[in-house]
């Protein structure tokens, strides 16, 4: 009886650790991917992208609004980007149909000369608008592209404006299934509570961290944890890009119709949803 009881106790004690162990590395990364890129069915974020050149104290600033719609959770998505600033690129629009196993469909519209330019959708690692972020960093690197491994659990302290926040994270390591030109390995620290990536390091084939990402000021918008400030640094080039979200113009589940993510909107941006 006593033995049975102690076995039962031992078993009960084991349950939580079993439950935790049940969550595989792939599942963690899937959840992280969904929490970063698939919040809500659609959404809008108004962003300021501050690109710091090497040694620069003052950034080049681009302000744009991005609409997105999820066609399938963790799968196809459509994006529409409308540039507000600087004034010379105001009204420039960019349409992306993100596909998982195929090349993206990308169209850029330059209003000054009324020209729609097709952009090859295969180059997902190229910089997005001259920043330290790649196209893939903006629209999400699919979790299926890498082999994931959990290497531990770490408490990660992030220095915010007036305070420090400590996140309990899963420390993950991902290696591309198919060899890639730039990425040899990705290390990421995923918040256990919200599955938001707190820090990500991109490691090149020389074993050096060539890009380092950090999330700041995570707050809930429409119930979804949203990263209000994100920094991507390229230590080898000594450049960095900060993306700030405008909370007033960021939201989810706005009911954006799918047919707005079409070539028509390039010339006639859906201002109703962008403002």
């Amino acid at each position: 009886m006593k033995t049975t009881f102690s076995i039962l106790i031992a078993f009960l004690l084991l349950i939580p650790s079993f439950a935790a162990a049940e969550e595989s590395a792939d599942e963690i990364m899937k959840k992280a991917h969904l929490s970063s890129y698939y919040s809500g069915d659609d959404g809008r974020s108004n962003m300021a992208m501050l690109v710091y050149a090497k040694g620069a104290k003052k950034p080049l600033k681009k302000i744009f609004s991005m609409l997105k719609i999820d066609l399938e959770e963790g799968g196809q998505q459509k994006f529409f980007i409308y540039f507000q600033s600087p004034a010379d690129i105001k009204k420039t629009t960019f349409l992306v149909h993100k596909k998982v196993d195929e090349d993206d469909y990308r169209r850029l519209y330059l209003p000054a000369s009324d020209k729609v330019i097709p952009i090859a959708g295969s180059r997902k690692q190229d910089p997005f608008m001259g920043s330290d972020y790649s196209y893939e960093d903006i629209s999400g690197r699919h979790f299926n592209k890498d082999h994931h491994k959990k290497i531990g659990e770490e408490a990660l302290t992030v220095k915010e404006k007036n305070k420090s926040i400590t996140y309990q994270t899963f420390a993950m390591e991902s290696v591309p299934k198919i060899k890639e030109e730039k990425i040899a390995k990705i290390r990421s620290w995923i918040d256990k509570k919200t599955y938001t990536p707190i820090r990500v390091e991109f490691i090149n084939h020389d074993g050096k961290v060539y890009k380092r990402y950090q999330s700041y000021q995570i707050q809930k918008i429409d119930g979804f944890p949203t990263i209000m400030r994100r920094v991507m640094e390229s230590p080898l080039d000594d450049t960095r890009t900060i993306i700030l979200l405008n909370p007033k113009k960021t939201g989810y589940n706005l009911g954006v119709p799918e047919d707005l993510f079409s070539d028509r909107s390039l010339k006639n941006p859906p201002m109703k949803y962008l403002n």
Partner: protein, 487 residues
Amino acid sequence: MQFERNRRIFFLPSHILMILFLIVFLLAGQGQGRTVLAASEMADSSSPETSAADAEENSEENVFDDENVFDAEDEEISVSGNDSNAIVFNGFLETERGARVGESENHKETWLLANQRVRLKTSGNTEKGGFDLKLDFVKDDITRQMEVDIREARLRYSPADWMDLSIGRQVSTWGVGDLIFINDLFPKNWINLLTGRDIESLKDASDVLRMTSYFGSWSWDLVWTPEFDPDTTPTGCRFSVFDPNLGRTRSNSDSCGKNSPAEEQNNKDENGEIAMRLKTRWGSQELAIYGYNGFWKNPKGLRFLPEQGLFKPFYPRLGVYGFSSEGQLGDGIVFFETGLYRSFEDEDGKDPLIENSSLRMMFGYRYMLNANLTLSGQGMSEKMMNYTNYKDNLHPDQSAKDEVRNTVTLRLVKTAQQDTLRISFFVYHRPQHRDDYLRYWVNKRLDDHFDITAGGNLFSGHSDYADSEFGMLREDDNVFIRMKYIF
């Protein structure tokens, strides 16, 4: 003597103002830099670890103080912003200078381009439409004119779910070529291209009614230009142009400020243009068919005026029917376009003074060698129809054009420093006639407001050859510099 004259032009009052303006803004920019530095130095002394972050934040705050964009952290999130209906003016101040390189028999002046420009633009939106306004106030020191160039003044309106209307002055573009236009017969300003002005100025605005209808994956555009708008082609004001009456190139200061020596079309019964495009998607390719009814955009006809004993250029009637495709192939973009040019006033090709009908075809591929280097090439072939009729009726003094004209182009674009530095080379080469055009420029975006571009245009070819497009400009090689303050 030459030096003194140039110096006088350079120190025009407007330039002094522009230079002062640049100095003030550069100083202002530095001042801001210093405050950030001071803040980070202070932080350095207390806690070295946070200095970088503090500097970041300080500069961010500076940035957003101007814009008032993301200041409120905990305010309620609203779907529609309050400022959506606010009218904001943007634009730029620009000064540009272009100088002839080398000797020219026809032109003794050094400057080809000397503009000061202020652009103001604004727009507004309503639920179903809006308006756009873009005005350029230009002081041109070559034509000695001040003018207001209305680049855009249009109303947008969507009367139905499937239709967009745009009425008024605007720029229209279609077709797939890179500086090769087959089905795009909207007005172009070639002077702007050849003097190195900003590429957006290649397209002239015109007063049109544009209707776009959408049916599933199909779209149909109709652009009606009630009054014919020709291209702006090189005149003797800045360039050496071929004069059919003299049989050689010459300059002509009388043409300054005028678009073209060609006869106006206003005496025609109907002088409008209609252009149409039907477009759809097929896999990764975008397909379109086109139709155009109007006039040759260059004065491709000569009319003999017996009372003056002179040839006068004019714009003969033209119809164009074409097709294009464009889309991803491999890691690049492949594009193809063809068009049949029907010269209504010389259908059988027997009139040697009016351009014959022709068939034009082009093919191109654009490929990114890496994230910072793009290479693109195009090949174009143009075949004159009814060539025997043309040859048989040619005046003995006229030199014959070739039946087939081939062109290849190559473009190389290099970007660096996070896309703030761009370098572009574009070569336009006609192997048959060694008729070449090289256009190159370097552009640097200094900060959120300042932009500087320098480059050159080089021409070569035979000046007396009927087929030569750039040959007559071979003494007009030029270099240019442009500064912009964007606000």
